[in-house]
């Protein structure tokens, strides 16, 4: 298989059959191999200046998220304030990448972040199951975009994907991308439900072919959520996409990344699997809610030489 050019890539999306041929023609993923590589890279020792850099970079990549039925405007405002200024005692701490909320909370979040530069992301398309018709998904997206969301996190139809209706998944991503207007589209693959690494690779390519700006592992509502090997496969996909088309697309692991150590392992993977140019919030994000506080605590530990504990950071 030689690398198809961009025009060839547009050919493969012509119909279901050619999509299937293309996706099933991608090189397979060997489970043992990818898990071994992920474990091996996880042992990189990152300390001192290099750790401090990683912590700040990770903070700037966090999509601070609240996705609960119990979300209120008050909760969202608190989150937005934290996003703007994660550590009140250290002004130089960068703001996070975005706050991520349900569509009906977007307006509150937009007001909350103001002109700080923090983005507002919203999960649309019948999140998290994706079980609705396209009109509803489009309306959901429209709601979020109209309220001012700069980033839309959509879920793919895993049912359609698993039963091999790749064309349907593709068309839906294309339609949502169109509805996004200037907003960035993150495509959630829900890798925990795709079950195999081969499927993760195929879904990643499908999302990239359809124009997704980011590929994202999970909704955070399904276990397992993000894992290092899955993220490795997705990083390989965006790297291969760059090699074939010259375009840069992003990756967002979400769910289950709770501490600095884990976050640094992901950054090492970004650095060594995709490449250095992905080490920026425009191309890599963490979907997380509890990660930020651990990053802040570890940051203080690095600077102050001792660990102060959770009472020294805000509980937002």
């Amino acid at each position: 298989m030689s690398a198809p050019s961009t025009t060839e890539l547009s050919e493969v999306t012509r119909d279901d059959a050619s999509l299937r041929r293309f996706l099933h023609g991608l090189p397979g993923v060997d489970q043992v191999g990818v898990e071994q590589r992920a474990a091996g890279l996880g042992t990189r020792s990152i300390k001192k200046a290099s750790k401090l850099w990683a912590i700040d970079t990770a903070i700037s990549m966090v999509d601070l998220t609240t996705l609960e039925g119990a979300d209120t405007p008050g909760k969202v405002r608190t989150l937005a304030a934290k996003a703007r200024r994660p550590d009140p005692e250290y002004a130089e701490v960068p703001h996070v990448g975005a706050v991520c909320v349900y569509p009906d909370m977007v307006a509150t979040a937009v007001a909350g972040v103001g002109d700080s530069g923090v983005g507002v992301a919203s999960v649309a398309t019948a999140f998290p199951s994706g079980r609705s018709n396209r009109a509803v998904k489009l309306a959901d997206t429209q709601l979020a975009v109209d309220a001012g969301a700069a980033e839309i996190d959509m879920v793919i139809d895993r049912g359609a994907f698993l039963s091999g209706r790749y064309g349907q998944v593709y068309d839906e991503i294309v339609a949502i991308k169109a509805a996004c207007g200037s907003a960035h589209l993150k495509v959630i693959l829900e890798t925990g439900e795709l079950a195999t690494y081969d499927n993760v690779r195929r879904a990643s390519w499908l999302a990239l072919l359809a124009g997704g700006d980011f590929i994202k592992t999970s909704t955070g509502k399904v276990s397992p959520a993000a894992t290092l090997p899955v993220t490795h496969v997705m990083l390989q996909a965006v790297r291969d996409w760059r090699d074939r088309t010259g375009q840069l697309r992003g990756v967002k692991p979400a769910g289950g990344i709770r501490n600095t150590k884990d976050a640094i392992r992901y950054l090492v993977a970004v650095h060594e699997v995709a490449g250095e140019e992905w080490l920026t919030p425009t191309l890599f994000r963490f979907g997380a809610s509890s990660l930020l506080n651990d990053l802040l605590m570890q940051r203080r530990t690095q600077l102050e030489g001792h660990y102060s504990g959770p009472d020294y950071v805000t509980v937002d």
């Binding site: 090189p27 060997d30 490449g275």
Partner: protein
Amino acid sequence: MSNWEYAPAPESRDIANLKPAYRMFVDGKFVEGSGEPLKTVNPATEEVLAEVSTASKADVDTAVKAARRAYDRVWGRMPGAERAKYIFRIARLVQERSRELAVLESLDNGKPIKESRDVDVPTAAAHFFYHAGWADKLGYAGFGPDPRPLGVAGQVIPWNFPLLMASWKIAPALACGNTVVLKPAETTPLTALVLAEICQQAELPPGVVNILPGAGDVGSELVNHAGVDKVAFTGSTEVGKLIQRSLAGSGKKMTMELGGKAANIVFDDAPLDQAVEGIVNGIFFNQGHVCCAGSRLLVQESIADELLEKLRTRVATLRVGDSLDKNTDVGAINSRAQLEKIQELAAAGEAEGAQRWTSPVPVPDKGFFFAPTVFSDVQQSMRIAREEIFGPVLSVLTFRTPDEAVAKANNTPYGLSAGIWTEKGSRILWAAQRMRAGVVWANTFNRFDPTAPFGGYQESGFGREGGRAGLEAYLDV
């Protein structure tokens, strides 16, 4: 865009408990050898680590006699279950002192700490555990109800895996009831001497294990000694042939584990990203100082360009440098002589028309280092496709059909290992059956386990180490 430099993360060298001088181990005691002492150096810094006493002809005789005494009086007649206790004790002590052994190994050999820590030492302990389990079950190994030991084993090991090779040799010999005189390589004697300390700590009866540092002359003296019943050698094909010539007709049992030029075959339906990992692990693991290294990459022509591009991108991320830094992927070449040999063969590759690509990674000024190198457009007739380089140098050849792949893979005087990469199970079985190699890995490379027999065909040697088959080499069957 950023430029993320990892901070150096050196393991403390104090953990190695390095002593200024080491002495040889004979009859349960550390004694001064009467040979010319040697200095062992850290290949990553060229600094002298320690002075090591070496054996003379008379010392070899003393050690072999001590081993014979221990065999006749104690070890050879001890019940297997009793022997097992000692071997288990050694295994546990290797684990207990694993950090010390790993750091010392990296200092003396130049290999990255992450490999000595995660591969060498744990696998060495595993070999003692595994063989301890066999000691009282030899009657069930398929060699008759009561297989007997051979007597005194003279063992000579190389510098690429000093502790691991010592364990591969000592553990099965002891489990089967033999006693041992072992000569570690001239450039890497230290961990074998700490293993001797461990034998002492385990209260192994005196003379069961003897360790004689020294150069080739000591090895020659040992294998030719009339009191030795069995010779086990791991090292170069050249020396292996010398030993066989001098031992022919002596009636001594022999096993030889020699050089290799393994083929790593990548078919067009392979899991490419993992194949790249396997290729990297196959040739850059332990700086390519691996007799079963996958040094000949055979790629199906239809994917060759794509695979090579991925491979170069990946190899460029390998970090070369300080062997004690936990972030180092490729350490130092073991000696100046070896470095010069690698340089000479790489130059021959260029002169014969292969296309050379060298990783742009920074390499330290001091110490013996060689940046990972990939030769493409390599042809079967070139030296770099036929001779063992024993360094971080990969030769890439292409093939068009499965038959051609097998024919090229087998077209070598060696035959220690091979790799097959394909997502098609039937093709794995088809190719593995046709490969003339002692170990064939499918969709992986360089995996070691004490339960799996290891050994070669043709000029890669004979006899097996590890597994049930490995016991045969130390039993009178």
